[in-house]
């Protein structure tokens, strides 16, 4: 079988009327780091993040310190009538969880109702969360349970996408297998463009915003 890769590349070069790029031209393209227009805003990063995230039916609870997370999770659980168990990502396993609260580090199976995960960053520009997959943050925790609780230290909120990419590139293994930018609960408009939450992913995404205290989970 003829090599399709070469055939397509040859056809592209023929159409462009040139041969392969010279090494120096290729190196110049590889060094290209464009600075595109960013969206300007004056608001405080935390306030902007919360306002944008809540505008898409995400919810936010502010907690003062990291060790107050278990109480905030319990309050959420009770408000939604959920049983005392969850998939809790490894970096959060050491928090003072109450006796009787069962948790495991994932993956999340079909019966999982709730997960609690860290995140790499909040992005203030549009009020989204960025999660990096790995043993400490399994991807199923982000999509399978009905309720996804995300721990976000206020200091992890960055201004623009570009700032989030910088954090991503700095991870020890480079880009993770899955980078999930999550902007609220799952939704669909596929029936008569009526917005309905909880299409396939979580019906509810709840941010636990840690206003003070050490950074969690990366």
């Amino acid at each position: 079988m003829p090599d399709s890769r070469s055939a397509i590349l040859r056809q592209i070069r023929t159409a462009l009327g040139r041969g392969p790029l010279s090494d120096s031209a290729a190196a110049a393209l590889d060094a290209r780091r464009p600075a595109h227009t960013r969206i300007a805003f004056d608001e405080d990063l935390v306030e902007r993040f919360v306002a944008r995230f809540e505008s898409r039916s995400g919810t936010v609870a502010r907690v003062s310190r990291l060790d107050a997370i278990p109480a905030a999770v319990a309050a959420y659980r009770q408000a939604h009538g959920l049983p005392p168990r969850a998939a809790v990502a490894r970096p959060l396993a050491g928090l003072p969880w109450p006796a009787g609260f069962a948790h495991h580090p994932g993956p999340a199976g079909p019966d999982e109702q709730m997960s609690v995960t860290p995140c790499l960053a909040g992005i203030a520009e549009i009020g989204s969360l960025m999660l990096a997959s790995g043993p400490d943050s399994p991807t199923t925790l982000n999509f399978v349970p009905d309720h996804h609780l995300i721990v976000l230290p206020a200091g992890h909120i960055v201004r623009h996408f570009e700032d989030a990419w910088t954090l991503l590139r700095a991870l020890p293994g480079g880009l993770p297998r899955a980078t999930n930018i999550i902007s609220g609960p799952s939704r669909t408009g596929d029936v008569e463009l009526t917005i309905q939450l909880g299409a396939h992913g979580p019906r509810s995404v709840h941010v636990l915003l840690v206003e003070d205290g050490p950074a969690a989970g990366g």
Partner: protein, 467 residues
Amino acid sequence: MDVSSPRFKQKAVIALANPTLRQALGQSRKGFVNKRAELVAALPEFEALRDQARDVKNHVLENLDHYLERFDSAVTAAGGHVHWARDAEEARNIILGICERVQARTITKGKSMVSEEVNLNAALEARGYTVVETDLGEYIIQLAKEPPSHIIAPAIHKTKEQVSDLFEAAHGGPRKTTVADLVTEARLVLRDKYFKADVGITGGNYLVAETGSSIIVTNEGNGDLTQTLAKVHIVTSGIERIVPTLEDVSLFLRILARSATGQETETYTTLSTGPRRPGDVDGPEEFHVVLVDNGRSKMLGGKFQDMLRCIRCGACMNHCPVYGAVGGHAYGWVYPGPMGSVLTPLFVGLDATYDLPNACTLNGRCQSVCPVRIPLPELLRELRHQQHQRGISPPVQRRALGVWRFVAERPGLYQFANRLAARALKSLGGRDGRLRHLPFAGGWTALRDLPAPEGKTFLELWHARKA
């Protein structure tokens, strides 16, 4: 899928007479248009972003070979595999080969227009695989055995009642009648499939050359469940969907959702970079990207290169009065609306698609909203020109144009004919100055009158005023 574009006129007439379709299209499109307008008005940077997006796409196309090679190396470095498909058949065979090797039974799919383009589902089903579309809109039309009628809202032509009928027939009763209940029913039915799937196939909104990541942008989360829970993840994407760096991704994320659905952002943007890694407890064991050419490289360097900038947002069809009247199915292939009227003739040939470039009023709304500034009306005009040159346009029209040209090249004769016509039409118009019937233009006067000329030509009035 089969090309039914030659029947555009019949299908358009049927669509115009369908009150259910009118109702479905009317409600939905207004939502897209209004929400986009609100967001664009609130973003002073939007026009600058469009310019930059156009420029980045042009830059990528000028260096497409380089960026594709970089992407290939980066995917391989991340432990994934890149496959190159020159045409639809090769794309299907690559995917069938992977499914066969891993002994797949159930295949879940996120929304992918390229998989529609290469007619993948039929090929998979013919081999006995169970294929489940997981995007709610795609799932609805899979049940209805119909092609998508819109590139981002595939079931936009269906009303809630029609969806209720389809679900009742497929899932058994009791019949669900609210949108909430319908969505929940689909959620429960599809949950099972994600966990059972051997292969998950998604599209790719962007392929990042720098990192070897493929990106999907969705609202439902179905694409993420598809690619996370299946043992093997296959991405199907056109070769033109490359962007060089993550910085370029930010640019396109700022314009895509605003242009497409009138959202500030879609709910999920996911970058997939290779398969499951050591220590990972979930994620696919294999990661494949199928790069599909299928006619794209031939558009490079020619009059239609601008069309390769398209990011498949659907803004052009949301704003097109013709699409709004006839819906997506009349166009007869995978891509409807203005972008489809350019792409379909280029992908499936000028002969079978005569009506598409002509079903356009050249009003320019599509171009005015296109986030990457594709000059769609110009491209449609160029297609008409090529149809004429290749003798595809109807003989009557060609003869009429020949006569017009003969006259127009002779100014004396032209002015004489003009004077004659102006006077004749004035007298035909009678006292109220309206023409109710016109020879050779019965279609035009069937629904409205033509105002009759005043009796003097422009040049006559001009000379009279100068004298």
